[in-house]
Subunit: 341 residues, 2 copies
Amino acid sequence: MTQMRKDIFTDRWVIVGENDGVQPRDFRFEKFTSGTGFCPFCEGNEAATPPEVFAIRNRGSSPNGPGWSVRVVPNSRPRLRIEGDLGRRAEALHDLMNGVGAHEIIAETARHDRNLHELEIREISDIIRAYIARIVDLEGDTRVRYVLIFKNYGVGAGALTISHPISQLMALPVTPRAVKTKLMIARDYFALKERCIYCDVLQQELKARKRLIAENEDFVAFAPFASRFPFEMCVLPKSHSSTFSRISAAQMENLARILRDVLQKLEQRIDGPPYNLSLHDRPFPRPREGYWKTIEDDFHWHIEILPQVFPITGFEWASGFFYNPVSPEAAARYLSLVPSA
Amino acid sequence: MTQMRKDIFTDRWVIVGENDGVQPRDFRFEKFTSGTGFCPFCEGNEAATPPEVFAIRNRGSSPNGPGWSVRVVPNSRPRLRIEGDLGRRAEALHDLMNGVGAHEIIAETARHDRNLHELEIREISDIIRAYIARIVDLEGDTRVRYVLIFKNYGVGAGALTISHPISQLMALPVTPRAVKTKLMIARDYFALKERCIYCDVLQQELKARKRLIAENEDFVAFAPFASRFPFEMCVLPKSHSSTFSRISAAQMENLARILRDVLQKLEQRIDGPPYNLSLHDRPFPRPREGYWKTIEDDFHWHIEILPQVFPITGFEWASGFFYNPVSPEAAARYLSLVPSA
């Protein structure tokens, strides 16, 4: 029999498959292909992008020339633009504003054919360093309430046009509803228990171990109890922190390690499925948002990795429910070395 | 410049593309193919499905034999089963229950190769009649709080395994969050204005006409102001009603007409994209749900049609935001005979 499970962080129900075994025949996806032809994100082609806003460069190299390991540029076809006012206004019954914010591309490496899971720990640490530099810079822009960093790997995860290893950053003038929902639930939980909901779940997962996928000194990766997607993973720092940009150099290296570890597992055991990866950080503290006063206690930053191997249908769109044929316990057994029950 | 638009029914923000023109080069989808080989939903193969729970049959035909125009059967691999108790319980911090409910397949026609938009009005009316019969029957099961009816057309909309024209029904033991969100917002709006939010938007769309796609005596189809998907459509009854199953015979025929009309437009003008269609009805009145007392006033049933021509990425999954490159005004001009501005 299937189970209906409620995600504790979002109050979202998920129907989890009755077959506890992994059934690769249910999955259908295109494998990642690195593409050919001219790529504006490759080293030597810097002139083909807008001028860089951040880069980690070799000593002596010049901005917008070769000699970098990570390079951040504005998207040349941005969904939100940095110029102008928000112009919040009504149109008849509706609310709208101008598409103001930022949309940046983070080239994760100068080489076209090396993907995130194939990089050195030092290189992945540099990507994390670039994320932090951009978040800290954008926090100074009071129009921005939230910075969302995400990665689409493979066509099935929406990466239709760019095959170079990249992440994307969007600076948003509103806090996304998905983030607000998590914040509100975490706030209510803290108000009731005076404990962080993420810390509680983390402790429980470390104790139960049946959904654990990877662990090191600073981080844990597990399959969430109510995973929406087969092989979904959540990466959480072990010590409580609301704010991604405050991680230490040692933590940064351990984050790079656990990310590479779990992405390599996906590559090796699920044959390189498309995935979406996203950073769930706290919103910027802005006085208009009521939650900013208790956010340090309430929220615990984390990373979500959502493999896209099973289709989303009218059921999911209409209900906000999900159906996931692979139980998180089966996913964890498959991905990790958790011994079978 | 792009616009950020807020959907009035859900409070969800959408970034709407700055290009007001339709750009088919941005779209990538597989066209529907009707498939070959043995199909359990074709006339004559009735023995290959579980026994029917409802059918519209020719006089003199027998249950589970040929001679039907619409036939409803339990899914042979159901995501929720009708047997057993919910068994709501805790597992450590988490909530779970058994996968109890119903999962049914509505074969829309006996013929494999005729799709919804190719059927006669009489045949589409019969499908609507089947929906109503199943909803009314399931309302008697007190474990069920909501019946969701949806259709996945084409591989890109998640129809991986069945190419026969079908809809699906899921009877759920909880009201889906997406429905609850709409209800709460509609309730707050009614509390403030003593008017239905859907009636207000409907009147405005009929007046402005710039997002109108189709209209008849009883129904209107328009591109929602904050459409998440290119060519998204909402079909709404003109007279206020919370409850789909109460439509009259005349309304039923006009619903069949407008559905066929808008699906034919998709087929002809967008070259037959995958789509998800879903019915958003009121939940069953159950005393545990606080909103049931005012639901008749607050809610207005409707149908959503979501073409799947543009990818969902990490941005959407992480934020709950959407990016839609085609403005609803451009979509309406493209799909309908609304004259260009």
